[in-house]
Symmetry: C2
Subunit: 311 residues, 2 copies
């Protein structure tokens, strides 16, 4: 089933202890789309500038991602500059040039209207809500957000949260959104804001799924903990969270039904795609991974976390 | 098989967002012994002062812990004062009164000489090495340490590390000991210092086991990730790490042989005992837990981390 993702397609200039890249293809929608493309069809709504060239679009096309919804505007593409140091667990933003993204007005192509799965990547919640309202018959809606929107755009974000099936955020965002330091109580408060389920990402420590009463028909309310793979070399963690979301949602969209077992496997696939994203700068690894490598890493995630694994 | 633990028996005065306790029974050896006592026989070597009363010893006796090695010295028992705030992930030490612990000279009672498992809790590595040398025929040795010894007593600690089967430390200690920020490379460096295996504790995110070539006969070098239980209420995290060690090592000592499967289950039991420790102030919960509750929580740890769990 096709996923429609709305979010940023951008250029990133990144410095990590492993090196430096200038204006490599990035953006939440890009990472999400590449990761999800290994599981299902993906359609992208975004805006880019005149510096977005055929070679950049070719990266998405090579993964059979539908780029009809990527609008060309006059001006430059959104450009983010950041660096990582130490444990590489947090990016330091050195520059955010919104450029054409500042006036982004998502337009949904006719051909996208039958998309059954919608992903609202991290953009202004006003735009998230608008896209959501134009897709009334969508089967499932997942979304992301960040500290900036939580802090200063709470009322707009609340509208989005009310209609989400799954919200994917990190620990800091969960604490900020809920005002609770305890992760279980934070999750309860976030679920009370509307999302049927919540996935809290812990970076190198994996992710925890929290489930409200409406998560599944008659299913568990126990949390679920998915591991992350200890990596000897994190070259560039940019986009790992968006790649997690892509693997997670892509797998869900490839399955006939969302069951607790599918949700768990989706969290593992999320971690798998997030781990690949970290192995090279930008989207390099996500462009070139194979389905066999994905399945082998899924098996590895199982092996390093399950008691009965063969060794 | 009996475990001999050498470490601190202390009084703790603790403040957390859930309240305050004054001079409650604590110390690494106490938490370790209580947690391990649910799996195997435990013998304690420690020193206490005149304020250590029969009612305190009765807490250990009630769990059939052998207290013959707890020496009485004139003066006061080691007293730690600390507080926790925010996410309760780190203690703020407000006072450390070593008292009789300052002149601690571990003496091994004759009756302890046949102990097959030795646990060197977090004390001066000179004392750890001395106890180790007096137990030449011991079957397995595990140990803990902390930033203070890593920073200023590195040469003494190196002697201890050379002869350890398993070292249990936390993320910060692993980074400090190795000088590496990457967790995989940090583990490799620590294993190169001597321990056959390494367990790095991540607090609320569980623990990772790393295995050198000498960990098991012909076994995996893959890491293993054990979850922690998301707790809605962390009353007091004091002793959680020592309780993890007690559950981990107690389970190992109860098994005929150390296999990769036993190591994995031991890491789960470590997390189980650590989670109980957090539920009440001091050792209260560890004194009163039942084996049935332990097994139920072990099953819960499996359920929240395994793909095939029934829901």
């Amino acid at each position: 089933m096709a996923i429609l993702v709305v979010g940023s397609v951008a250029f990133d200039s990144i410095e990590t202890p492993h090196g430096k890249v200038d204006h490599c293809l990035g953006g939440a929608a890009t990472y999400f789309a590449l990761a999800a493309s290994y599981f299902t069809d993906v359609r992208v709504i975004a805006v880019v500038g005149e510096d977005f060239l055929p070679k950049h679009e070719a990266v998405l096309k090579a993964r059979r991602i539908d780029t009809a919804g990527i609008e060309r505007a006059s001006g430059l593409t959104f450009h983010w500059t950041g660096s990582y140091a130490g444990t590489l667990s947090e990016a330091k933003t050195l520059g955010t040039d919104l450029n054409v993204f500042e006036r982004f007005e998502p337009k949904i192509p006719e051909a996208y209207a039958d998309s059954e799965y919608l992903f609202l990547a991290n953009i202004d919640p006003v735009l998230q809500a608008r896209v959501r309202s134009h897709m009334p018959t969508v089967r499932m809606v997942c979304g992301d957000t960040m500290n900036y929107w939580i802090k200063d755009h709470g009322a707009n974000l609340a509208v989005v949260l009310r209609n989400l099936d799954v919200l994917l955020i990190n620990d800091v965002e969960a604490r900020m959104l809920s005002g609770e330091t305890n992760p279980v109580r934070a999750a309860e408060k976030v679920l009370a804001m509307g999302p049927k389920s919540l996935v809290v990402k812990h970076g190198e420590f994996g992710a925890t799924g929290f489930f409200g009463d409406r998560s599944f028909a008659g299913a568990t309310s126990r949390p679920f903990r998915a591991p992350a793979l200890p990596l000897a070399e994190v070259v560039d963690p940019t986009g790992a969270g968006d790649s997690f979301a892509g693997g997670f949602y892509g797998y869900i969209a490839s399955q006939p039904e969302l069951t607790p077992a599918v949700f768990r496997r989706a969290m593992f696939y999320g971690g798998v795609m997030g781990s690949f994203a970290c192995e090279r700068f930008g989207t390099e690894r996500l462009q070139a991974v194979t389905r066999d490598e994905i399945e082998a890493r899924f098996a590895l995630f199982r092996e390093i976390s399950h008691l009965d694994s063969a060794v």
